[in-house]
């Protein structure tokens, strides 16, 4: 009797729980707006998606492109620390909000909102385009530039970087289309300033930290744009819809609509591309992409990104003494077959990826890049000869995979610890390869895999507590400015304790050098000097990949952080 009641109670409790959970699920499902049948709860994205034709021909006729986005975003105000994601820039910034300059895919800065920019040691003057307008009819004016500057220097705004903006002490305008900013010190990388202009009137009074969580809009909620497209809608977890902006000053876009569909899983993304469900994708590099490499009907573009993967060699007190010996460093670089590493990491889906042979510039930068480090390309025999000539003993006479003899150079053992990110497949693989290759020429490499938060935390990188570390500098723009604080003596980002007075002088001067040609020469000289010192081994830049249907024209894969939509106005269907 008791048992029966007990069992009934237990069952009732269980049923209650289950129905609560089930009911909750249904409720949540409804709230998450993922139901299909009732039209009233359909999201903006679902409506747009339903209206997109599914065949390529029909899309060509309607001038619609569907682009697969790999990640969801946290907001479109990409100057903030929280929200500077790549896809936020691609979907909501590059085609929607313009800046003083636009950076092309070859690293050239072309004038955009500013027709003329004059930089002097103490001032920065912008002459604005008179026909640049926001889509609500208002012209883009000096007030917008000043508003932008003010947001960057406001200490309550959680912006990711203030470099340059905090050098500006004040602004004077000459009419609505000209503004002069007064600098307290010369700032050579001025071309990277004001890359994104905020609409002053439409955002007046808003909290900069909270704007644009899921739209690019004014305080009235309406989408705002001064570029070739307007961000019509964004639905979290699903995607974004861009429509042509007819008030843009430039040659109007050929496409009517670009729909970004968020597909977070690589397999699904690849199948979507193969099946024609999406017209283009810009996936992060991974081996699964090899499935698309030889797919018919698509164009597969892989170019080196603005990403410098390198092996820093520590000169400071925590480093290993033998690292200060030039012959040793050169032997390290000569002993590493960087091409083999690149082939094994990227060969299956980005064949022919070039090596990186410069510590300041990148392969895609035709103007500035010089392969200064190419002279240290893989040559294990030369490495051994170099070590022998430097007076090292005990090592092998020829490179051999089964070698067990290690060099000793004037009392120091040829051995160091290779620190890099634990859990990162690519880096673990390159560490394994470097270990084996250096072992073959008589240098012992010890494992130093460390989790990312420890490696970039106060105990390792910041404390310069490593002997050799592989990591990457990731850059948004190709300008050499970033190199100054990284390679000059006692630079704040100079974690290797490297100090070459000439290099330092050149870099420091480049910060104030407003003459483009002179500045370029300074950077190139600095890099050539560093190629003799070998403070760091530049390894590779992983590929930036853009895949799109053959019927599309105008797509240009760019290594900058602006992403493939940097020239969305040029995209069109060929027919």
């Amino acid at each position: 009797m008791h048992r029966r009641l007990g069992l009934l109670l237990g069952a009732a409790l269980a049923a209650l729980l289950l129905s609560a959970a089930a009911g909750a699920s249904v409720n949540f499902a409804r709230n998450s707006a993922a139901t299909a049948t009732p039209k009233t709860t359909e999201t903006a994205f679902e409506r747009a998606w339903a209206a997109v034709p599914k065949s390529q021909k029909a899309r060509e006729a309607k001038k619609v492109v569907v682009f697969g986005a790999e990640q969801d975003i946290d907001g479109f105000n990409t100057s903030l620390n929280c929200c500077s994601e790549y896809w936020a820039v691609v979907m909501g910034n590059s085609p929607v909000l313009r800046g003083a300059y636009t950076i092309t895919n070859t690293g050239a800065y072309i004038h955009d909102l500013a027709t003329k920019v004059v930089a002097t040691p103490r001032s920065l003057t912008y002459v604005l385009r008179k026909n640049a307008k926001w889509n609500d009819g208002r012209h883009v004016t000096a007030a917008d530039f000043i508003y932008t500057w003010k947001q960057f220097i406001n200490p309550n705004n959680d912006v990711a970087t203030r470099a340059g903006y905090d050098d500006i002490t004040g602004a004077t305008t000459k009419g609505p289309y000209q503004v002069t900013f007064h600098l307290k010190a010369p700032f050579a990388d001025y071309k990277d300033l004001f890359g994104l202009i905020y609409p002053s009137v439409e955002l007046a009074g808003q909290d900069f930290n909270k704007i644009w969580a899921n739209c690019v809009c004014g305080k009235n909620g309406k989408p705002i744009s001064d570029g070739p497209f307007i961000l019509q809608s964004y639905t979290k977890g699903q995607g974004a819809v861009l429509v042509k902006n007819n008030t843009w000053y430039g040659k109007k876009a050929s496409l009517n609509e670009i729909l970004f569909k968020i597909i977070t899983d690589t397999n699904t993304e690849i199948q979507a591309m193969r099946g024609g469900e999406v017209d283009a994708i810009a996936p992060s590099p991974q081996t699964a992409l090899s499935q698309l490499l030889h797919q018919s009907g698509i164009v597969y573009s892989a170019i080196p990104a603005l990403y410098q993967e390198h092996l820093d060699l520590q000169f400071g007190p925590h480093g290993v003494p033998i690292m200060k010996m030039p012959a040793f460093r050169k032997a390290i670089m000569l002993g590493i077959n960087r091409q083999a590493i690149v082939n094994s990491l990227f060969g299956s889906y980005a064949p022919g990826l070039k090596l990186l042979n410069n510590l300041i510039f990148f392969n895609t930068d035709k103007l500035n890049y010089r392969p200064d480090f190419a002279k240290w390309n893989y040559n294990p025999k030369k490495a051994i000869a170099m070590l022998k000539a430097a007076g090292c003993t005990g090592g092998p006479s020829t490179p051999s995979a089964s070698n067990n003899a290690y060099w000793t150079c004037h009392g120091d053992k040829a051995e160091f610890t290779y620190t890099t990110t634990l859990g990162n497949q690519r880096r673990e693989t390159s560490e394994a390869i470097v270990q084996a290759e250096l072992k073959a020429i008589g240098i012992k490499v010890d494992n130093g895999l460390v989790p990312a938060n420890v490696m970039f935390g106060p105990d390792v990188l910041a404390a310069k507590n490593y002997q050799a570390m592989e990591f990457a500098w990731v850059l948004g723009s190709p300008d050499g400015q970033w190199a100054v604080d990284t390679w000059r003596c006692n630079g704040p980002s100079n974690y290797l304790s490297y100090c070459n007075k000439r290099v330092s002088a050149l870099l420091l001067d480049s910060q104030h050098q407003l003459n483009d040609a002179k500045r370029r020469a300074e950077f190139q000289q600095a890099d050539a000097l560093m190629a003799n010192d070998l403070p760091s081994v530049p390894m590779y830049s992983p590929p930036s990949i853009l895949i799109y249907k053959k019927g599309l024209k105008g797509f240009k894969n760019t290594p900058t952080s602006a992403g493939p939509t940097w020239n969305a106005q040029d995209w069109q269907w060929t027919s």
Binding site: A288, A340, S344, E428, A436, N447, L449, V450, N453, V454
Partner: protein, 338 residues
């Protein structure tokens, strides 16, 4: 400290190979369901043709039952073989586990070059890596099982024996540990504390496993402390520790041993899961879970996924069978055909 039983003093040899000899099992002679016979000279009776009596120790009896459990025996052999292979990995593996060969990447299993399990994406021999992976798994598994059993036993003993507020406090602490899902805490610890070290991960695993043992030990202690022989020992002036270790613990080892054995399997599985999620023991030491991950990025190379997973499966399966066999052998209350 107990009186020797004169009727059990005569010992006999049982003629080997008499499977039909009627067995008068320990439990029916002494008392239903009570595994405890006598502390030091635990014996049981075996009648052979009604004439001679062999005094057999409780452990020998258990051993016999275990051996009769064919599945458990076979599994024990397999597991021991695999563990030995892992232990002697440096001598058995045809290659070093970090030896790369960039001319031979992603080679399917073959007999040439002794690449029985094929090679991975940078040409390392997979057979060697799997063997070293076994070594890592078994070290973690055995260490975690042993240490957690020891700790759990002590905690459960104290809680069960003394009862009262000590019991309450210790059980609340156990509850606390059980509050958080083990894998989540392990992952958090690995991510934040910079895991990757074999011993650090093992210690964190021990932190979770001791609770199961503690609960079982406590339950056993609660019931066994009321037994007459404990009262007798107390009356004779034995200290608490002596009673716990000399009288009670030997009689509850059954479930503890079983739990410990099964803990080996669980620990190996959890460590593999951690390695799979990228937060386990750091490379280049191969761990079976981490090896399976490589299979995920190269799905056409089926050998990368199949072999480590299969090895894991076999190890865990066999350990579970051994544990099951032990449970049958050591717990006479279970009416399972031996």
């Amino acid at each position: 400290m107990t009186e020797p039983n004169p009727t059990l003093d005569r010992a006999l040899e049982q003629t080997p190979g008499h499977p039909t000899a009627p067995v008068v099992g320990g439990e029916e002679v002494i008392g239903g369901g009570d595994r405890m016979i006598l502390a030091d000279t635990a014996d049981s009776l075996v009648y052979e043709h009604g004439l001679e009596i062999k005094a057999r120790s409780q452990w020998a009896y258990a051993r016999r039952r275990f051996i009769r459990h064919r599945l458990a025996m076979v599994s024990l052999v397999i597991v021991t073989f695999i563990f030995l292979v892992g232990a002697f990995a440096p001598h058995i593996a045809p290659y070093r586990y970090d030896q790369i060969d960039l001319n031979n990447i992603l080679h399917p299993p073959t007999t040439q070059g002794h690449h029985y399990f094929g090679t991975d994406s940078i040409g390392r021999d997979y057979f060697s890596r799997v063997i070293y992976g076994i070594r890592t798994s078994e070290t973690v598994g055995l260490f975690v099982a042993f240490l957690s059993t020891a700790i759990g036993l002590v905690v459960g003993a104290i809680a069960g024996y003394y009862g009262g507020w000590i019991d309450n406090l210790l059980m609340r602490i156990t509850d606390l540990v059980l509050t958080l899902p083990a894998l989540a805490i392990l992952l958090t610890a690995s991510a934040l504390l910079g895991g990757g070290d074999k011993w650090r991960i093992s210690l964190i695993l021990v932190f979770f496993f001791w609770t199961t043992v503690a609960r079982i030990a406590r339950g056993q202690f609660l019931s066994l402390r009321e037994k007459e022989y404990v009262e007798a020992a107390k009356a004779a002036g034995s200290g608490d520790t002596r009673i716990m270790f000399r009288h009670i613990i030997p009689n509850m080892m059954g479930p503890i041993v079983v739990t410990g054995t099964l803990a080996v399997a669980s620990a190996i599985l959890v460590e593999a899961a951690l390695a799979f999620l990228g937060l386990g023991i750091k490379p280049p030491t191969p761990a079976l879970g981490a090896l399976v991950v490589e299979g995920q990025t190269n799905p056409q190379a089926w050998w990368l996924t199949v072999f480590p997973g299969l090895t894991l499966l076999i190890i865990v399966l066999c350990v579970n069978f051994v544990g099951d066999g032990l449970r049958d052998a050591l717990d006479p209350q279970q009416r399972v055909r031996a």
